[in-house]
């Protein structure tokens, strides 16, 4: 691009595009800057203060996530001042957090970015801050829960719900140390506009917003992520099956930017995985016998049986006595094959797709 810029981070000349933030350029060049409230998909909030850097000509430390690049901008990401800032800020966060027996922020099944930061940085130990968030009532929804003790008020969840999901079911509420994540009137999510997409869970850096169905405090490494494709519809969202001892304990979205769904999932892809291990799940085809009961069959038997039935109807009543409806779980290619089957094999135009109403 013609108007590429040069900026200097820690003395290193780097190429940047107009409109980028200092943080984006730093990340691309593997310059580590801690962040908590940042998410590429969301407008910068600049509220967690983890990413503050020194900008030449600015008296105050400035959030790199929100500082636009400009030609010859000079930035420093390491200095005694920045180290002291990070150490003390992290100390405050830790003093406000639930800790494990090692005095570190608790690990949760979905991770805890605060813990990760604390594991790698010397920080100022401070006496615990007694700082209860404004409490929230019972919430009967089956999927999403909020644990205020782990919340660092980065507002990723509320901004996600507003900016990405366009739902705005949750918001920052109250003020000061009491600030909390709330629904209108403190109601359960089922009584709000919430679509239970679970995106707020995925973006939460600490596991404060969490999935009710999943165990909360599994040890690091105990859970393995298996990339898969959601089979609820034809979109083909990628998802990560979080597997422990051969069982799915949670489904999460792959990180934004990696797959078509850009870190998003819907309620079905994220939460409706109970069928996978369910005892009632059909594991092979069945054919109803003369006795009225279903009996296990092979795929060949089942397909032949179905073909025979369909051909029988066609022969007795003509092709237009048949109709084909494909499932919304089918992909484009599968839908194509269904209409081909209807038209070419059975010679009827009675074909429809259940999502095409």
């Amino acid at each position: 691009m013609a108007d590429t810029l040069t900026i200097h981070i820690d003395g290193q000349a780097l190429t940047a595009q107009p409109g980028e933030s200092v943080l984006q350029v730093a990340k691309r060049n593997h310059i580590a800057i801690p962040t908590l409230c940042h998410d590429e998909r969301l407008d910068a909030a600049g509220c967690c203060r983890a990413c503050l850097v020194e900008i030449d000509g600015q008296r105050r430390l400035q959030p790199s996530c929100n500082w636009p690049v400009s030609q010859d901008l000079r930035v420093s990401t390491r200095s005694p001042r920045i180290e002291r800032h990070r150490a003390t800020l992290l100390g405050l966060y830790v003093a406000d957090h639930r800790l494990d027996q090692d005095g570190l922020p608790v690990h949760t099944t979905q991770g805890n970015e605060l813990r990760t930061w604390a594991e790698t940085t010397d920080f100022k130990r401070l006496l615990a801050i007694d700082s209860p968030r404004h409490p929230r009532g019972v919430d009967a929804n089956p999927y999403v829960a909020y644990d205020p003790d782990l919340c660092i008020l980065c507002a990723r969840c509320t901004r996600y719900c507003d900016e990405i999901e366009a739902v705005s079911a949750i918001q920052l509420a109250w003020r000061g140390a009491e600030t909390s994540i709330a629904t209108a009137g403190g109601r359960g999510l089922l009584d709000t506009t919430c679509e239970l997409c679970g995106g707020c869970v995925d973006v939460c850096p600490t596991g404060a917003m969490h999935a009710k169905q999943a165990p909360r405090f599994e040890k690091p490494g105990a859970v393995q992520k298996v990339r898969s494709t959601c089979n609820f519809c034809g979109v083909g969202c990628q998802l990560d099956l979080n597997v422990q001892d051969g069982k799915i304990i949670q489904v999460t979205a792959p990180p934004p930017g990696e797959t078509v769904n850009d870190g998003n999932l819907c309620v079905k892809g994220r939460f409706a995985y109970g069928f996978v291990h369910h005892e009632d799940r059909l594991r092979q085809p069945q054919i109803r016998g003369a006795d009225g009961e279903l009996h296990d069959a092979t795929w060949d038997e089942a397909l032949h049986y179905a073909a025979k039935g369909l051909l029988g109807v066609r022969d007795r009543h003509g092709p237009n006595a048949l109709g084909f409806v494909s499932s919304s779980r089918c992909t484009n290619e599968e839908n194509y094959l269904v209409q081909k089957l209807a038209r070419a094999v059975f010679q009827t135009n009675n074909v429809h797709q259940c999502a095409a109403t």
Binding site: R84, L92, S168, L172, A177, T183, G185
Partner: protein, 514 residues
């Protein structure tokens, strides 16, 4: 996400009309406005006046009122069966201990006229003089034209009176030079800095000078839309101001739109970008700067924001010239409204040369009561100074040299009957309570700070304060806005100037957390 047609700006006022941020009112306002219900709830619960019990009398627990028996008043009212609630500084420090009734009008005992200087036509605002409704400054400005007015403003050296002391003419020029044809002029009348009640007095006594200043500003920056964000507790002042507006719109202000928008009880909304958020019907959380309001302010358009006093100085600058205004000050230009309260005989608002000393100011206020121990020169945000600084000029530069600030010029004197650490506790509690909660250094730091001091008061062991310096440093360096940046100052300044008050001490029995 809010639909395009949603009417967000009015929601706080609508909640106030429906008795506050109750679940019912929030649902109704969300329906009417089209704003998502959670957003209405999130905004409503932010504001003290929308969370209060509308039947209760509000008793001030600001520093000056604490010094003058706020607790006793609270007790007495409770004894009379009056339902009460403690609130942050009500801006009635001169009549301490102060309280306002459910209708937000001062109780009779807190309802006396303030002490001001006798009328002196040489003073730019002249609080003690007859109410000036002449709008002669506006007439002169229209004749002179914008560039000439700007020259006078620059010559006057007028620094913003809201706290930061930024040169006024630079902001005017910046707004004037913006490409967008839509500009706004906003008056910051959210006066909430503990110890400050000068803007209140300007509105009570010379409201037309404020309106005149606004009209001149609007003329120069080519705007026709004026918004006055008025502290919600100033109900009496709202009526006076609305009256003045209604009359002026028939004459000198014809062609302008002038709106009063009521604050809903959040000190942080005095910070200019939090104020803009609040004007737009949101939680009063300060914005990241840059961009500054002069470029992108109200409704994302160029906006000139000024304090009441700043604007009220403008007619005089236009009429009698910038140089004359400048000559009224000592080391910095102009005359200044100083508020003085606490342990002095005649608390009030005195219009004096910028740069008078505390002793001079207190002489106007009838002298000290008892033996003075410490003073805050410019509101809670300026920390505490020892009496050794009583001859220091009370101006922007001189006070910042000692790590304090002129701020809103709300001076409070504490005599030696005061338990200084306890006074610090009150100030820290104020900031903790008023933090918007957006950024961690302030939200967590201000709470940690108050709790560390309370541990010290509870145990008498100074070791409890050993980490104060680090946390205060982080609040200063890491906070988004001025609130968090100075919120530790009451403690750090007291530790610096009064170390002997923070030794081992007997256990403090009672902490009033009101």
């Amino acid at each position: 996400m809010q639909s395009k047609s949603a009417q967000r700006e009015g929601i706080l006022q609508q909640l106030a009309e429906q008795g506050g941020a109750t679940a019912l009112a929030v649902a109704q306002v969300a329906r009417q406005s089209g704003v998502p219900e959670a957003d209405v709830w999130g905004a409503g619960t932010f504001y003290g006046l929308l969370r209060r019990d509308p039947k209760k009398t509000l008793v001030c627990n600001g520093l000056s009122c604490k010094l003058h028996g706020a607790d006793a008043l609270h007790h007495q009212l409770a004894g009379q069966g009056v339902a009460t609630e403690f609130v942050a500084c009500l801006g009635l420090c001169d009549v301490a201990p102060a309280a306002v009734g459910p209708e937000l009008l001062p109780l009779p005992a807190s309802d006396q006229p303030a002490h001001v200087l006798p009328s002196d036509p040489n003073l730019p605002i002249d609080l003690g003089g007859p109410r000036d409704r002449s709008y002669r400054g506006l007439g002169a400005a229209l004749k002179l034209g914008p560039e000439a007015v700007l020259r006078e403003l620059q010559a006057s050296g007028l620094q913003g009176r809201g706290g930061a002391g930024f040169a006024a003419h630079i902001k005017w020029r910046s707004v004037r030079s913006q490409p967008s044809p839509t500009r706004y002029v906003v008056c910051n009348a959210d006066e909430g800095e503990p110890g400050t009640f000068k803007d209140r007095e300007v509105i009570r006594r010379q409201p037309d000078k404020l309106l005149e200043g606004l009209a001149i500003a609007a003329h120069v920056v080519e705007s026709t839309q004026i918004y006055i964000y008025l502290r919600g507790e100033f109900e009496r002042e709202r009526r006076i101001l609305q009256d003045a507006i209604d009359q002026a719109l028939l004459g000198p202000l014809a062609g302008l739109e002038v709106h009063i928008v009521r604050g809903q009880g959040a000190y942080i909304c005095g910070e200019e970008t939090a104020l803009l958020e609040s004007l737009e019907g949101r939680r009063g959380m300060p914005r990241l700067k840059p961009p500054f309001p002069t470029e992108r302010g109200f409704r994302n358009q160029p906006t000139l924001i000024h304090n009441v006093e700043t604007l009220a100085c403008v007619p005089d600058i236009v009429l009698r010239g910038g140089t004359r205004f400048a000559s009224l000050g000592r080391r910095e230009p102009g005359a200044k409204l100083y508020c003085i309260s606490g342990h002095v005989a005649r608390p009030g608002v005195y219009e004096l040369p910028l740069g008078v000393t505390l002793d001079e100011l207190v002489a106007h206020a009838g002298g000290y009561i008892g033996t003075p121990l410490a003073f805050s020169p410019g509101g809670a945000s300026s920390g505490f100074l020892p009496m050794g600084e009583r001859s220091r000029p009370l101006d922007f530069a001189s006070l910042s040299q000692v790590g304090s600030m002129l701020g809103s010029a709300g001076a409070v004197v504490l005599n030696d009957s005061v338990d200084l650490p306890l006074a610090v506790h009150w100030q820290l509690s104020f900031f903790e309570h008023e933090s918007c909660g957006q950024c961690a250094p302030c939200r967590l730091g201000s709470r940690w700070m108050r709790q560390a001091l309370d541990r010290y008061l509870a145990s008498g062991d100074p070791a409890e304060l050993s980490d104060v310096r680090d946390v205060a440093w982080e609040m200063l360096e890491g906070s988004i806005c001025g609130l968090g940046q100075v919120a530790a100052l009451p403690l750090t300044s007291a530790l610096q100037h009064f170390p002997h008050h923070f030794g081992h001490r007997p256990v403090t029995q009672e902490l009033h957390h009101g």
